[in-house]
């Protein structure tokens, strides 16, 4: 993947500081070099390497160019939402006759708990969603529902890492970091990888959710905070907003112009002046992308922004669309801490969790479709696990963790629309048909971006490391359009 070559460094840094987006002669030279068209000796890496977010051409054909991932941290209950299990009704309140892998000890019970909610088939595909997700029902024909997800580690943290960074340990680069490392960004005025966090709390594993791990810090997710400044370092300090910072930049510009007059021809100095101008443009772009005031009432209605229950989440969905429209590579929309971890009281808490996201996400998918962006944008919905068919906590029933078989869906970007892939057993506990491991999902996703899970590597400590790193990852051809 390396496009680094010291012979271009000097000219490149000047170019970057001024306008990193255009493809000029310099970029062209890198592309030629990248393709190995010249038998140049591979130099040992001695000098520190520099990295950029310039757009990079993936080695393979790409269907997708952006991704919006909705992370429902805690683990949505598949048998209550999208994987109906009539068997549970037949065995209601009886001891389950099969072995269950429990996580929590104290509340564990063998008693079967049927779903409280009715299911219906939707669209031409006849995809099942329960009455908690009417919006998802409306977009069923756009979705590729996988019912056979598997990570096999029954803790939130480890399973989050598996799904978001390829293996069960903390400290590795997240999916968004890999995509921006592999592809750069199409908009140099915005961060390539943005994280729209929940205003209340962070998911389990906190900042690791958007960590660049051992990839260069440049590829780390940039967080949009719930309070000012919404993006650290990308917004002026509160007391300098408005004209204040412009005055500062003008004064700084005057200082620098006088300085360079005495040092004519010093390209670095010019480049740094240009880098401040680019930074100012980035600030404007970022705040422009976040500002939804000019969106029509109809659009706001589509995302549920006109209703209290969906306003906050709908706003983030709409911002996600605006970012993708502007060429941002990866948008991670996070739920709050354990907001789908329904160990108890599932009867009241699951409907609330669903209500918050159902209409906004459905609105986003419809909107992307309307704008012609869905073909090139992957939308992902899912948590790090699903839940068990038996009761947890008799007094206030919920469901315990289940990472052995759970559901998530993908839409757009080359995924097969209106398709259900894989199945769990009749209890909904274990994925039994067409199992998709987290690494299979990753290999498939990278394929759609024109990347190869074995080819997209980063050399570190003498080893080439990748997102799937030595796991037997398989591209799941069956879920590709």
């Amino acid at each position: 993947m390396s496009i680094e070559d010291s012979q271009f460094l000097s000219s490149r840094r000047h170019f970057l500081a001024r306008n990193a987006m255009g493809i000029g002669g310099v970029a062209l030279a890198w592309l030629l070099h990248e393709q190995g068209l010249l038998a140049k000796p591979v130099k040992p890496e001695l000098a520190g390497r520099s990295h950029t977010l310039l757009p990079k051409r993936p080695p393979g054909p790409a269907r997708a160019r952006a991704m919006i991932s909705f992370f429902m941290q805690g683990g949505p209950s598949q048998m209550d939402l999208c994987d109906p299990k009539p068997m549970l009704d037949r065995w209601a309140d009886k001891d389950i006759p099969v072995k269950i892998k429990y996580d929590d000890a104290a509340g564990a019970s063998a008693r079967v708990m049927p779903s409280h909610w009715k299911f219906k088939r939707h669209g031409q595909s006849g995809m099942d969603f329960s009455e908690l997700l009417p919006g998802f029902g409306e977009i069923a024909d756009e979705l590729c529902l996988i019912r056979s997800m598997h990570t096999g580690v029954n803790n939130h943290g480890q399973s989050i890492h598996a799904l978001n960074s390829g293996r069960t340990v903390a400290g590795r680069p997240s999916l968004g970091s890999w995509l921006t490392y592999g592809l750069g960004s199409e908009n140099q005025n915005l961060p390539a990888y943005l994280v729209l966090r929940d205003p209340g709390s962070l998911p389990v594993e906190g900042t690791w959710n958007w960590s660049a791990g051992w990839l260069p810090g440049l590829y780390q997710g940039t967080v949009v905070r719930a309070r000012e400044p919404r993006i650290l370092n990308l917004e002026a300090p509160a007391n300098l907003r408005g004209g204040g910072q412009r005055n500062y930049l003008d004064f700084l510009g005057a200082l620098n112009r006088k300085h360079i007059r005495a040092r004519p021809g010093e390209l670095d100095l010019e480049a740094r002046i240009a880098s401040f101008e680019l930074a100012a443009r980035m600030q404007t772009s970022a705040s422009g992308a976040m500002d939804i005031s000019n969106e029509s009432a109809a659009t706001k209605n589509l995302y549920g922004i006109d209703e209290a229950a969906t306003r906050e989440f709908g706003t983030r969905c709409l911002i996600a669309r605006r970012l993708v429209e502007r060429g941002v590579r990866f948008v991670h929309v996070l739920s709050g801490n354990q907001s789908w971890d329904h160990h108890h009281g599932i009867k009241n808490s699951l409907p609330k969790a669903c209500q918050k996201i159902d209409r906004p996400i459905a609105g986003l998918v419809k909107d992307l479709k309307r704008l012609g962006l869905l073909d090139s944008t992957v939308v992902h919905w899912g948590g790090e696990m699903g839940r068990l068919p038996v009761v947890q906590n008799e007094r206030n029933a919920g469901r315990d963790h289940n990472t052995y078989g759970f559901s998530m869906w993908l839409a757009g970007g080359g995924f097969r629309a209106g398709h259900i892939h894989g199945a769990t057993d009749e209890w909904g506990h274990h994925a039994v048909r067409d199992v998709v491991h987290h690494y299979d999902y990753h290999a498939t996703l990278l394929r759609l971006f024109g990347l190869d899970s074995n080819g997209l590597v980063f050399k570190r400590s003498g080893r080439e490391q990748s997102l799937t790193d030595g796991q037997p990852a398989r591209v799941v051809e069956e879920i590709l359009a």
Binding site: G36, K40, V169, V204, G206, R225, R263, L278, S461
Partner: protein, 882 residues
Amino acid sequence: MQGLALGQAATVTFEADVRPILKAHCFHCHGEDGSAKGGLDVRLRSLLLKGGQHGPVIAPGQAEKSLLFQKVRDGEMPKEQAKLSTAQIETLRQWIEQGAKTVRPEPDSPDEWITEEERRYWAFQPIQNPPVPGGAANPVDAFLLRKLNANALGFSPPAGKRALIRRATFDLTGLPPTPAEIAAFLADETPRAYDRLIDRLLASPRYGERWGRHWLDVAGYADSEGHTERDAERGWAWRYRDYVVRAFNDDLPWDRFIREQLAGDEMVRPPYADLAPDQVDKLTATGFLRMAPDGTGSGANNAEAKNQVMAETLKIVSTSLMGMTVGCAQCHDHRYDPILQSDYYKLRAVFEPALDPANWRTPQGRQISLFTAADREQCAAIESEAKKLDAERQAKVEFFIERTLEWKLRQAPEALREPLRAAYNTPAAKRTAEQKALLDRHPSVRQISPGSLYLYDREFNDEIAKLNAERKKVDAGNAADKAEALKKIDGQIRYFRDSLTKALLDTMAKKAADLRATKPEEPFIRALTERADKAPVTQVFFRGNHDQPKAAVKPADLSVVALRNNPIPEDDAARPSTGRRLALARRLTDGTHPLTARVLVNRFWLHHFDRGLVDTPGDFGKLGEPPSHPELLDWLASDFMKHGWRLKRLHRLIMTSQAYRQASRRLAKIDEIDPDNRLLGRMNVRRLEAETLRDSILFVSGQWNPRMFGKPVPVMEDEVGQYIIGVSTNDSANRPTGKTVSVGAEAFRRSLYVQVRRSRVLSFFDAFDAPAMEPNCTKRPTSIVAPQALMLMNNDFVLAQSRAMAGRFQRLAKGHLDAQLGLAWESALGQAPDAGERAQARAFVKKQVAVFEAQKEKQPGLAALANFCQALLSSNAFIYVD
């Protein structure tokens, strides 16, 4: 660029022209390691004539009829994507056309052959002491001028005194000069003024911090183990950092500095106890060889990680001291330099007794304790008390397990209680199928364990709540047996209260932990030592695979520079250790080694002029850059050695040169003839490095904490994942808790003392190109990207420091805005503002005061001055040095 053009002889020969091409592109499949695809070995002319399964591949005099030429011309060979260049193909053609000549008879075997031509490479020649050309008092100038004059150039005019003091102060201390220092220098009009300035700077303790940092880049200094995601912290690496700073400040001769770093342990007789200070120093120095990432201390104690520690250590040693990319010979002979694969393993053999995979020691297991017997006694006494507390807690755990079991059994049907109890009390492996099935139906019984007890507290708390409600009801009523009933309820409440586990067990655990925390901290040295009893056999690994060892090798220096009599013993009988490293260290510093001194002086030069005489300071091989001034490089190296390997003397020599003192302004003539300024007809303009920038901001803001040495300042993640200075208070799932732990003035120490955790490079440093140590950095890049501008515009650190700076100058010149502006300006930029600049500054502050007043800012004057300071700190005049 000029450099050393070896020049292509009129006749194309196998050794000089053809073999290097074949070696780089063809040996791998056709000759190396017994691989001869198509039966063809191309490593000798005779073997090309012998050919492979299609017969001879060259027909001397007839390129077009030679298979070798046809294949490369048609792009069929090499099979990899990278093909030969047109020039290389043409060389092959000419060679065959001219009769496929060799310079001299070839050896019988192509293995381990280093050609005369390879041996003649400049970097392997003895260091010369060339005569100093005339024309300048300072030899540095004489050499430079000769080349400048040859190109119709000369030196630029001298830099102004202000530019000069700023340049020298940054160079030697990494900090800007103060206005007082500037004034003193300006006022000193004696001829010795500049020499005195250099003397003062070299005597400053800041000098060691500045130059120590340069060396720590090459040594790959880090406070964490790296390799794995865990990236465990290294508790005691900082002693090596402090050793380096002291060595620079003390002007420790470099021959000794190198010997101590490579073999300090071999100079101290074991056992390493009750050590004298100089012995502690020598052992600490070997921390140099403990800087490589070490997965075996970070959750990966496996063969691959051990091998990697060795590989990275060799990379650090060879790039820092030999300027050779020896690591390229780990799998096969170096493709471009005459470094044999066996050379790599001979060098490895020097270090293997200390880094022996067969008798591996993890980082913890390698530490040397500085504890005294009295310290140990005190610890043992505390530990035995703590063990008593552990035992008390364990008894309580067992009590709780019994309680919890009783409680869960009470919820089960009566008939199942005894069978369940029996099943639970049977060890898992011995349970009958029936018992297992029974427990599967009662998972909440099965799962009771010391670790899960706290989960059951919820049910006990529910019971307590219920009982309290009942008690209230009974208490409000007037039943005859009220007192009796209340007593009964209270008893039940007490029972459940006594069953609550978490609070009590946590308290008990904390009590033991608190007691243990009163032990005196055991100080360690992170050192490299050998085990006296075992000297391993080093073997060449087939294609670098550590699980495919082949022929055994003995310790030695690289063949191409090795002495006829190998001075490196297998086992020095006079010492408990093998003596291998000490012997290598002596060889490297014996004054005749062609690489060591050249590599060192080049590195020193680089930090004065922004570019080395060899611009690839870690690679003096064929892929590196040739020296711009080979005679000067040699003269400096030999002068350095002749005068006791003393760096401070070399600084004086370089910094008093006309070359160093000239102006940096670009001149059309130089730009035309020498656009990269390799001839040094002017000084280079340089950007401050990441650490220097942060240090300088702290210095002018007045917040700077000058404390030297000791444990690193901690680095933490903030809520968005930026790395900032501080103590992390995230919970076990890495979520911010909102708590803060003040690190006080530690936050304002020099960057050198900020923890270098490989996976958590301070975001400010990261933005300004600080290296991630994997494993080391021989040259830093300097990028110019918008995130750096954003950092200077909006980052909390910069904003806070700007405010502190404003406060400082408000206090210093109370009520005199003009003086405040002038002082701030000169402190940051080293220049006093002229009248126009003063007016501009005043106008800006006035404008910002109005902005802040309109926003009802409490101290609009301070805020405006702070914003002015911020502009100074983000200006090119601050970030760059002329």
